[in-house]
């Protein structure tokens, strides 16, 4: 029977949620919930937490995040070309190879910028 594979994926997803959902909702249902400031304190090895928890951000690795966005796009384009590589004549892949080569230079410069710790 040819069932649409996407429907099968949806069924699988529903099964996962149906099976794992109770693992979280049931314990919440039967666990004791009385607000207790000491028990609900964030874990800091017994110390009383001080200051804002959410604001120590490391700017140092921000360039890698930018590079990730760029190469995410590149990767997706390369996959779209890669599927039909063997069916295409080799000449038509020249542009894709040029595409990869062109991105080499900015990658090098971005790495140089990112690795220089004085910049961040």
């Amino acid at each position: 029977m040819a069932l649409n594979p996407w429907l099968a994926i949806i069924i699988w997803g529903v099964i996962i949620i149906v099976m794992t959902g109770p693992m979280l909702t049931l314990p919440i249902f039967w666990s004791r919930r009385k607000p207790d400031p000491f028990r609900d304190m964030p874990f800091e090895s017994g110390q009383v937490p001080q200051g804002e928890a959410r604001h120590r951000l490391i700017m140092q690795y921000y360039p890698y995040l930018l590079m990730f966005v760029v190469f995410d796009v590149v990767g997706m384009f390369l996959f779209a070309w890669g599927i039909s590589f063997t069916k295409l004549p080799l000449e038509s892949s020249a542009f894709v190879i040029l595409f990869i080569v062109l991105l080499g230079a900015p990658l090098g410069y971005a790495l140089k910028l990112a690795l220089n710790k004085e910049n961040w």
């Binding site: 594979p5 996962i16 314990p27 590079m67 990730f68 190469f71 995410d72 990767g75 063997t86 990869i100």
Partner: protein, 344 residues
């Protein structure tokens, strides 16, 4: 005869039998779906404990818990389910409770496209490989959000480390599989395995196997890349605040991801279900995946961890360059007709 909607009890029974014996139901619920996945995840927790105990000569895990320690995972599960679900002060409730379920969901969903045998696959879609990558690419944001939601310092630091680490190794992982796509000419995982009937892709694409393996070690936050959960520095990394059922779900999600990645290695490089016909196809597949998982687990007992800036530097300067170079190598190999000699 199956009628919908059923009117008599006999028709209802016929319909139920029809549904239960349908291929979709069996693949979703029994194998390679829910039951198989649960059993393997429980097995993997037991297996990792035993293996590390052998490597590091830890006495406790070798004896604790019934015959061969098999009851230990069950006891853990029961304990975690009946523990209280603690939500830290000022934590973001919907994110803190929702993301563990989503983590399990995201690591279990890609199993729909992993072929455990020629017909043992839930959904045979044409974009299988990209589907797996799209799902795994959601992990960094989930982890960052969970770390942010717990409103605590250690999880937040661990979450940031995890974000940068996964982001740094995702691109080498994708680019290294590009040479597999070039060789097989398809993104469909069933077709990729079929193309390996004569020769496993680990032979023509050994370099990309190395890059892929190192990348998944980093993606899974396994030693020597387990900085996000470095115990001496960050307690338990991004899931420090997780307790009880939340911890159990995260744990399940992580082990499922371990199994997912090892089965992906099997599909892409180790010939999937192919093997001598003395054993059925799924057995070969599971065997290969477990061997890969062993090689992912072993370094945890052997290696120290490296520093976070070194880690990110290796990902971007070494692995990405090697992966890109490997793409060119594969193009040359295919272009010169070297591959056709091997029947690929």
């Amino acid at each position: 005869m199956v009628v919908f909607p059923p009117t008599t009890p006999a028709e209802l029974v016929a319909l139920v039998i029809r549904i239960i014996t349908s291929h979709t139901f069996i693949t979703v619920v029994v194998f390679p779906g829910f039951i198989h996945l649960t059993v393997v995840v429980i097995f993997l927790t037991w297996y990792e404990r035993k293996l590390l105990a052998r490597i590091q000569l830890r006495i406790g895990p070798l004896y604790a818990g019934g015959p061969g320690g098999l009851f230990q995972p069950l006891a853990d599960g029961v304990k975690l389910i009946f523990k209280e679900v603690m939500i830290p002060y000022k934590a973001s409730k919907p994110l803190f409770l929702g993301i563990p379920v989503l983590l399990v969901f995201l690591s279990a969903l890609p199993f729909a496209v992993i072929p455990f045998g020629q017909h043992w696959v839930i959904a045979n879609i044409d974009v299988g490989l990209v589907f797996v990558f799209a799902m795994t690419s959601l992990f960094p944001s989930m982890i960052l959000l969970f770390a942010w939601a717990s409103n605590s310092k250690y999880p937040f630091l661990g979450g940031l480390r995890s974000l940068f680490q996964q982001v740094a190794y995702e691109i080498p992982m994708w680019i290294s599989t590009l040479s597999i796509v070039l060789l097989a000419g398809s993104l469909n995982l069933v077709d990729i395995v079929r193309a390996q009937q004569k020769i496993w892709f680990i032979v023509p694409a050994f370099l990309s196997f190395v890059v892929f393996f190192i990348s998944i070690m980093a993606e899974l936050e396994r030693l020597p890349f387990d900085l996000p959960e470095a115990e001496p520095e960050l307690v338990a990394g991004w899931y420090t605040e997780a307790s009880g059922a939340i911890f159990m779900l995260i744990f399940m999600g992580l082990y499922m991801k371990l199994y997912l990645m090892s089965s992906l290695v099997t599909v892409l490089f180790l010939g999937g279900w192919w093997g001598p016909t003395i054993l059925p196809q799924p057995v070969w597949f599971i065997l290969k995946s477990l061997i890969v998982a062993t090689f992912i687990i072993i370094p945890r007992g052997v290696y120290p961890r490296i520093r976070v800036d070194m880690l990110i530097k290796i990902g971007w300067t070494r692995l990405l360059i090697i992966a890109l170079a490997n793409v060119f190598l594969t193009i040359i190999l295919i272009g010169t007709g070297f591959m056709t000699a091997w029947g690929i």
